[in-house]
């Protein structure tokens, strides 16, 4: 069941088009990646979902209702460029933003305590924002976006600036939120995060939708015929067995006579053909398909889109 439905949305800034006929759905409880190069229209789309601006054409539905101001209390937003009121304390800042999201002061305080405990930063409550380090400030900003327990959480580059430990912590929290039935829209340029976190993605380029689908489907769809194999035996014998059907891409010697190799098929061969060719030449420990990373998928799709546009 979809939580958010965007239908044929256009957005013009004066005569410039920022979004061109965009349609997609975000299902309840999923983590949805919003991808695209700089200037593709991601921020515009996020602003439309937050009702910061309105679409020039098309509709946006939230829980099957036309998106209106009343839904804003159910949406949490962490923008890419985040500001804080540096003169306020952590508590004052978070409570102010929470109250704008419809919470009472006591509800906001209660929720703040929960999140401060979760991040193990309860002692920061009365600290002035200006005293916080960048990472600390980012945690406060993250808390501001979840303080009102939103149904839909929109995060624009939520992990940028965090150290690996905190990235792990935030990713963990995102999974927990998902488990609790929250829906998350994640806009990021970090494709590793997309692979790790997102269920489905929408790719935008030049204001248009390029593709929408699940991460695994997209990776499979863009499979380039790479196999990985771990074996024990002679490397020359292995290379000879590849013959003209497979091409050796990468090899790594794990220990004496033990290798891990990446090969690419040249024709219509399948994994079975590859295994058959190797069976009597080396001792196979493991064989697997190597799916492209989202980085490759992303570049491939953008390049494809660019060449299509150039052709036109």
């Amino acid at each position: 069941m979809s939580l958010l439905s965007v239908e044929n949305v256009d957005k013009y800034y004066f005569r410039k088009i920022a979004l061109n006929n965009i349609s997609f759905e975000v299902k309840k409880g999923e983590i949805f990646g919003l991808l695209g190069p700089n200037g593709a229209g991601k921020t515009t789309l996020i602003r439309l979902i937050n009702k910061i601006t309105n679409p020039s054409k098309g509709t946006i539905k939230f829980n099957n209702e036309y998106l209106s101001d009343k839904h804003l209390t159910k949406i949490g937003y962490l923008p890419e460029e985040r500001g804080l009121y540096t003169a306020l304390s952590v508590e004052e800042h978070v409570i102010f933003l929470a109250m704008l999201k419809g919470l009472t002061k006591s509800e906001a305080k209660e929720s703040l305590n929960y999140w401060l405990n979760k991040f193990e930063i309860s002692n920061w409550k009365n600290k002035k924002i200006e005293q916080l380090s960048k990472g600390m400030a980012q945690k406060v900003q993250f808390i501001c976006s979840v303080i009102h327990n939103p149904e839909l959480l929109i995060l624009d580059e939520p992990l940028s600036g965090f150290d690996p430990i905190n990235i792990h912590l935030i990713v963990q929290i995102l999974h927990e939120l998902k488990k609790d039935g929250k829906t998350i829209i994640l806009s990021t340029h970090d494709m590793k995060n997309v692979e790790e976190i997102c269920d489905r993605i929408l790719l935008l380029n030049h204001s248009k939708k390029i593709i929408e689908g699940s991460v695994s489907e997209l990776r499979e769809k863009h499979y380039t015929g790479l196999y990985g194999i771990r074996f024990k035996g002679n490397m020359i014998a292995f290379a000879t067995a590849l013959w003209t059907d497979f091409e050796l891409i990468e090899k790594k010697e794990i220990s004496k006579d033990k290798f891990e190799v990446i090969v690419k098929k040249r024709g219509d061969q399948k994994l079975d053909d590859f295994i058959k060719a190797m069976l009597d030449k080396v001792e196979i420990n493991a064989v697997w398909n190597i799916l492209p990373g989202m980085q490759e998928v992303f570049i491939s799709l953008i390049d494809k889109n660019l060449s299509t546009e150039n052709e036109k």
């Binding site: 937050n50 923008p79 460029e81």
Partner: protein, 488 residues
């Protein structure tokens, strides 16, 4: 609406917490009070040493009056009438700075005319008044019993004449009824309250003749009119208009300071990008109104604090220093510094009228101009970029204040009349006009126009704000502003 209130409260809290607010709260009244004190202390303008010619045709006063010169006033008496024309033109009078015209009926009408060539200082005016008053006191309340001289020079003479009968002093002394009537007429002459008295209500509380204190308790104040020899018809009184301009200056100061606060606050939200977070919860108009009202409330609170501190300061000044102005001995001793400013601050400003009107024009004026400041704040990339765009607004504000000054001396000029209603200038010109007295209908008209203009401006600025607040990396231009206004 709820979000506007939350933002208003937060903005108010931010302002009140800021160091600027407290510095202004303390420094502002101190500066105002210090300026007032210095101006009080310096005294007022006007010639300090003067020669005064007293024209006492009937020699009513000169036998007792003015035998002794003051340090800075030299009196010269003449027992003939000197007309204003003669005083102005004849060379023999050229050495005199002022002429006191003691009219023959001074004892009845208590009116004295003082004609001056060059503006007299308030202190000298007070001294002349005091000298005249003192002479009347000597006349009406001698320490010895009533004598023939008094009967001849006072109202008692009229009584005798009206009764077509001449009475001797001894006869008066013997006859209580006559004595009573003499006393009644005497009081009439000195106080002008005979009409209220009937014979059966007459209270013989005073001994006969009056003592100085009895006289002072019932005396009718001497009416001394000062006339400029070049403007015998009467010089316009600009003093209240200056008070009005003072209120305009306060409005100017607060609009500038707090308008800049609105600009800074909006520009800061934009440059730190926190505006994006707030706009994901509130409408742009809610945020704008919250900013303007929050800062405005801080301004109103600060004004009331200023008002309270300044009022307290003036009260302390009055109790400890100014009150001596009204003590004749201080005037004689030259200890007091009575001047026009003291007169203006303590006696001439009608605070009950000025303060409510001031608040109306101040609040509406602030809201009107803050709409412009907010447009600049929302349209520029950063707070620093905004500085260059405030000059046009500051110029308009300064020009408006100047037109307020212009309208002091040219109240009937078309520009003064137009600017009284023109929303950009009305808060400044109106205070000057109101201080001189103006009909309620006219003030309501100016306030109405300002109110409607303010609503219109806030609507326009809200539209520009909505379209410009999320635009980054552009240069502000008029064409851009027009595009933002047109874009719904």
């Amino acid at each position: 609406m709820r979000n506007s209130i939350i933002i208003t409260k937060q903005e108010l809290k931010n302002r009140i917490r800021s160091r600027f607010f407290w510095i202004m709260l303390v420094l502002g009244p101190i500066l105002v009070l210090s300026s007032i004190y210095v101006l009080f202390k310096l005294g007022d303008q006007g010639k300090q040493k003067i020669n005064v010619l007293v024209s006492d045709e009937k020699a009513n006063l000169n036998s007792h009056f003015l035998s002794k010169d003051r340090e800075n006033i030299h009196y010269k008496c003449r027992n003939n009438y000197v007309s204003l024309k003669d005083f102005k033109t004849k060379s023999e009078f050229a050495k005199y700075d002022a002429l006191i015209d003691i009219n023959p009926s001074i004892l009845e009408n208590k009116d004295v005319l003082v004609i001056y060539r060059e503006k007299l200082s308030s202190q000298n005016k007070e001294k002349i008044k005091f000298d005249l008053d003192k002479r009347l006191e000597q006349f009406f309340a001698p320490s010895k019993k009533m004598d023939r001289n008094m009967i001849e020079h006072g109202m008692i003479k009229n009584f005798i004449y009206n009764g077509e009968k001449e009475l001797k002093e001894e006869e008066i002394e013997k006859n209580d009824s006559i004595k009573k009537q003499i006393k009644k007429q005497w009081i009439h002459a000195t106080t002008g309250i005979t009409k209220k008295m009937k014979d059966n209500e007459f209270d013989w509380q005073f001994s006969f003749p009056l003592t100085i204190s009895e006289y002072n308790s019932i005396k009718k104040d001497l009416g001394v009119t000062f006339i400029d020899i070049n403007h015998p018809e009467g010089e316009p009184d600009y003093l209240p208009s200056w008070a009005g301009l003072g209120f305009s200056a306060v409005i100017f100061l607060f609009i500038l300071l707090y308008g800049m606060s609105v600009l800074r606050s909006i520009a800061n939200d934009k440059s730190t990008r926190i505006v994006e977070v707030i706009l994901s919860s509130s409408k742009p108009s809610e945020l704008l109104y919250g900013k303007i009202f929050g800062v405005g409330l801080a301004a109103v609170i600060q004004f009331f604090c200023w008002f309270g501190i300044i009022a307290l300061g003036l009260f302390i000044l009055k109790e400890n220093w100014i009150n001596s102005f009204y003590d004749p001995s201080s005037v004689l001793a030259g200890k007091s510094h009575l001047n026009e400013l003291v007169e203006l601050v303590y006696n001439r400003i009608n605070y009950q009228v000025m303060i409510p009107y001031f608040l109306c024009f101040f609040i509406l004026g602030y809201l009107f101009y803050s709409a412009f400041f907010s447009v600049i704040g929302a349209s520029v990339g950063s707070e620093n970029d905004g500085q260059q765009f405030i000059y046009p607004i500051v110029s308009i504000l300064s020009l408006s204040l100047f037109i307020g000054y212009f309208s002091i001396y040219n109240p009937e000029h078309f520009l003064s009349k137009f600017c009284f209603y023109f929303p950009f200038t009305s808060p400044f010109v109106a205070m000057v006009k109101i201080s001189n007295g103006i009909s309620l209908v006219e003030v309501a008209g100016a306030l109405g126009i300002l109110f409607l203009s303010t609503i219109l401006m806030i609507k326009i600025s809200s539209r520009i704000y909505k379209n410009s607040i999320l635009h980054y990396g552009h240069r502000l231009s008029l064409w851009q502003l027009i595009k933002w206004i047109r874009k719904a």
